[in-house]
């Protein structure tokens, strides 16, 4: 069978196309699998970034609550204790302070009380935590008393945040 030069060119082109199609089709499954893996990794990265974003947003939101407060620090601890539990002997000890986020620092104190009723304890803790910024009880140790509703020993660790810049 005789072909013109143009036809020969067409046949050569077809053969090349066939070869290319064959090679591409043979390689396609592995290439697709690689592609899917890459996309899957990227999707996982995006999911992880979304988690990190939620964490960061949580940080920002919590900080924003304190930034909106008018007072730059709570009332002094002694005055709150005097008002909430008059007549009770409370040992107060300074447990240190340190920087929190920019413009804020934390302060921590230890309170030790003896022979206190559970009602007084609840009232005392409530008074501390209702401050703005609050004196938050972050740790406590309670030892039971000999009578019902009586606590023989209470040790509280309270923490507050104070603004360092006006």
């Amino acid at each position: 069978m005789k072909y013109s030069p143009l036809q020969k060119l067409l046949i050569a082109g077809t053969l090349l196309l066939l070869l290319a199609a064959g090679v591409l089709t043979v390689l396609l499954p592995s290439s697709l699998a690689d592609g899917w893996r890459r996309l899957e990794r990227k999707r996982q990265d995006l999911d992880r970034l979304a988690e990190i974003r939620r964490m960061a947003d949580g940080q920002t939101a919590r900080r924003a609550v304190f930034d909106r407060l008018e007072a730059s620090r709570p009332a002094p601890l002694e005055s709150i204790l005097r008002a909430a539990a008059p007549g009770l002997r409370i040992d107060v000890s300074d447990m240190g302070q340190g920087p929190a986020a920019e413009g804020w620092r934390w302060e921590r104190s230890g309170l030790t009380l003896k022979d206190i009723s559970d009602r007084d304890l609840i009232r005392l803790v409530g008074a501390l935590e209702l401050q703005r910024p609050p004196w938050k009880v972050v740790a406590l140790t309670i030892r039971g008393g000999t009578q019902t509703g009586q606590v023989s020993h209470v040790s509280l660790t309270v923490e507050t945040l104070t603004r360092t810049t006006p």
């Binding site: 309670i142 030892r143 039971g144």
Partner: protein
Amino acid sequence: MNPEILRAWAVRRICLGVDAGGRTIRVVRALRWGPWRFWAPLELPAAVQAAGALRGAPAVAAGLSPRECLARWIEVPLADRGKARRVLPSLLDVDLPFPLETCEWGVAAMERTTPRTCRGLAVAARREDLIRRIDDLKSAGFDPDILDSEALALWTQSRQEWGTATDWRIVALAGDDRLTCAVGRGAAWVAAYSTLQPQGGALVNWLKSVIPVPNESVEWIWCGPGLREPGGMGACRPALEALFPGRSREVDRPEYFLARAYAFRALAPEALPCNLRSGVLTAERHLRRHARRWMQLWMAVGGVALLLVALNLQWRYEMDRANERLQRQITAEASALAGHSLTREKGVEVRVAERAVLARGPAGLSFERALAPPILAALKTLLDLAAAQSIQIEEVTLDGSAVSIIGSGSDWETCERWGRKVEEAGYRSRLERRDAAPVGRVGFQLKPGGG
């Protein structure tokens, strides 16, 4: 692969059948439209014009009488039909009165006769006869694509128009100058004979040799232009029918029977196909058409290949685009979290962003603690759990999620049950026995950390 297979899908096909075996050329225009077949006779000038205008394959079909074209069953002692077909030329060469090299030949059928033998219907014609017929046709204005066997054409057309024979059938063509008899039995073609002198004894002897029992019932089918011609080739009909009595029929428009047989065989070459215009004699037009078919096939294959390549590239392009889109999202989000651009830190964006956010974490822990639920609520939960199990508590220490409790229960199982409840409440702890306990009770210490 035969590119003509593409043509087989054509629904509508037209072919001219040319009967040029006698003094007059007779032409029919046959049309096959799906399962329907139509034909009409054409005057010669109109036929020549139509032959030039026809496109597609085949355009013109003609044939050779049994005097110029041998058709014969040949037994091959091989069971495999493919092998038998390859061996057939050697056996045919022995059978032919002239060398096979001077002939064009073909195999119209190959069938298994016994488990160990096949038989092939070989068709052959001398090249010089073929050239002469082609030249005759060309001088009349036709360039045939197909040169068929008259004997086979008569037989298959008789089956087409009259159905399969119940027993012996003789299809007799009374031509202008010859009488051709194609003999078959049932569906099978048996043999053919053509003579210029039907009144002589040769034809009768031949018929007697083919049909072994003379008085057996025979179905005669008569056709050809000489059938109704006074003193023509049809004049021997009564004598022949007297020798081989049976049913006698005449076909419709008998003078065009052979022409339409050629045409319809060309349009639907299912039974005993034959084309002796092959090899070096193949029509130039036919070769061009064949080449064109191949080109169409190549182009179809090229189109499919192109489509495959395009699909492959499209897949890759789409995947790359999706990948880039996700990468842009990751870079933008991570940069926003880290507080600086991470465009040049591909692959580590998540780690950098996480590190930046966690670095701000310790400073923010105080805010988290300040907004956490009151510690007394956690203490109440623990005390409620203890009350439910009649656990007495002597000392509790709570520091974030770490809990340490000293107390006693009625028995160790109760203590363990309560320990599990504390775990379920979210405090990882382990329970240990303690010796010091009120009388009748079991002492324990719940310490922070899992067991």
